[in-house]
């Protein structure tokens, strides 16, 4: 059975749901941007890519 709600109650529930959705969405975006900033602050990160990297090779003189 569907609950019989008045238009006013429906509007308030809708405003509440939209409000929560906006807050959660904003929180997710903030977390994403904050994570990107934190990672950038770590400096350049080189991952292991199965390819020779001359920069890491030991220098051989002569």
């Amino acid at each position: 059975m569907f609950e019989n709600v008045t238009s006013g109650v429906h509007d308030k529930r809708q405003s509440r749901n939209v409000g929560v959705a906006v807050c959660l969405s904003a929180f997710i975006v903030l977390l994403f941007v904050l994570t990107a900033v934190k990672i950038q602050q770590l400096g350049a990160v080189e991952g292991f890519d199965h390819a020779p990297r001359p920069a890491l090779a030991e220098r051989v003189d002569g």
């Binding site: 529930r13 405003s15 509440r16 409000g19 904050l34």
Partner: protein
């Protein structure tokens, strides 16, 4: 900090009132949050280092949410006395728009979220200070001091004084003299601000049985205390001009603002209840209104001193 909200909202007449998003938001005491955001922002900007803008925004947001969470916990605990006082009867819980249990859940959930996120965003000390602030306001002030001692607002004022210190610590990771000075400024400002409110709200605190100074020691003693604290505040506020958070601009603002504040405190001290009743507490209301501007001016000046390039008006 003041939450003298006079907004008018419908009182629930039945148990089936459907709370809106705004009703839940009102649990967070938005006016108090705005003052918290401002003072915390000044703490962030005055610190001798800087955060990435995204980190600074997030830190401010979580400090504000933490302050809002403590407001929700306060509304949950004080629902009975809020319903009796005219100033607070329209709040979401006493007016029946939000249940006390919901206020508790919102308060606890946002407290945990704000502390955890401030820790991840900045550092453990800032998060610890925020957690302590929430605990201090919800437990030490609301549950204990408010109903037991006329010094409630003096000691409880510490809760409102922490935000600039948290802002400072979020940047530097440590507490310093400058952070303590900003804390002290709000701490000393709070008693005269609230006692002026207690004078013109007259019977509110009597009706609710809250042992404000006006109730336990009378209005004459309250007027004396307002003057005493205002003199001490003026000395502190002007003295801060000669520290690293001050400067010539701050000094000028502090001298003028404190001269006005002291003048009004003397006026309050000279009056008795007959004078106050005759003009409907005009001087007390003016003092209360100016106290909000007073805090804004001082922290605004600290902000300007911090962002101005070193030179004629910045620092000593």
């Amino acid at each position: 900090m003041s939450d003298a909200s006079l907004d008018i909202a419908p009182r629930s007449t039945s148990g089936d009132y459907e709370p809106s998003f705004g009703d839940y938001f009102a649990l967070l005491k938005p006016r108090v949050m705005s003052l918290v955001v401002f003072t915390a922002l000044v703490g962030l900007l005055a610190a001798p280092a800087s955060l990435h803008p995204v980190e600074a925004f997030a830190a401010l947001l979580f400090i504000a949410i933490g302050a809002g969470a403590s407001g929700a916990l306060n509304m949950w605990w004080d629902a009975d006395i809020d319903a009796v006082m005219k100033r607070t009867a329209k709040r979401p819980v006493p007016s029946g728009r939000v249940s006390a249990t919901d206020a508790l859940y919102v308060g606890v959930a946002l407290s945990l979220l704000s502390v955890m996120m401030l820790w991840l965003t900045t550092n453990a000390l800032a998060a610890g200070l925020l957690a302590f602030t929430i605990f201090f306001y919800a437990v030490i002030y609301s549950m204990w001091l408010k109903r037991s001692t006329p010094q409630n607002i003096v000691i409880g004022g510490a809760a409102g004084a922490f935000p600039p210190m948290i802002g400072w610590v979020a940047v530097t990771g440590s507490v310093s003299v400058e952070a303590v000075l900003m804390f002290a400024l709000i701490f000393m400002w709070t008693p005269p601000h609230f006692w002026a409110l207690a004078l013109f709200m007259r019977s509110d605190y009597d009706d609710a049985g809250v042992p404000m100074l006006t109730v336990t020691h009378g209005r004459r003693a309250t007027r004396n205390h307002i003057l005493g604290y205002t003199i001490a505040l003026a000395a502190l506020a002007v003295g801060a001009a000669f520290t690293s958070i001050g400067g010539p601009l701050y000094l000028a603002v502090a001298v003028i603002a404190n001269a006005i504040f002291l003048r009004d405190a003397v006026r309050i001290w000279r009056r008795d209840e007959t004078d106050a009743e005759a003009d409907n507490f005009r001087v007390e209301k003016a003092f209360f209104k100016f106290s909000l501007l007073y805090l804004f001016l001082h922290f605004g000046a600290i902000w300007v001193e911090a962002v101005l390039p070193a030179g004629a008006w910045s620092g000593w």
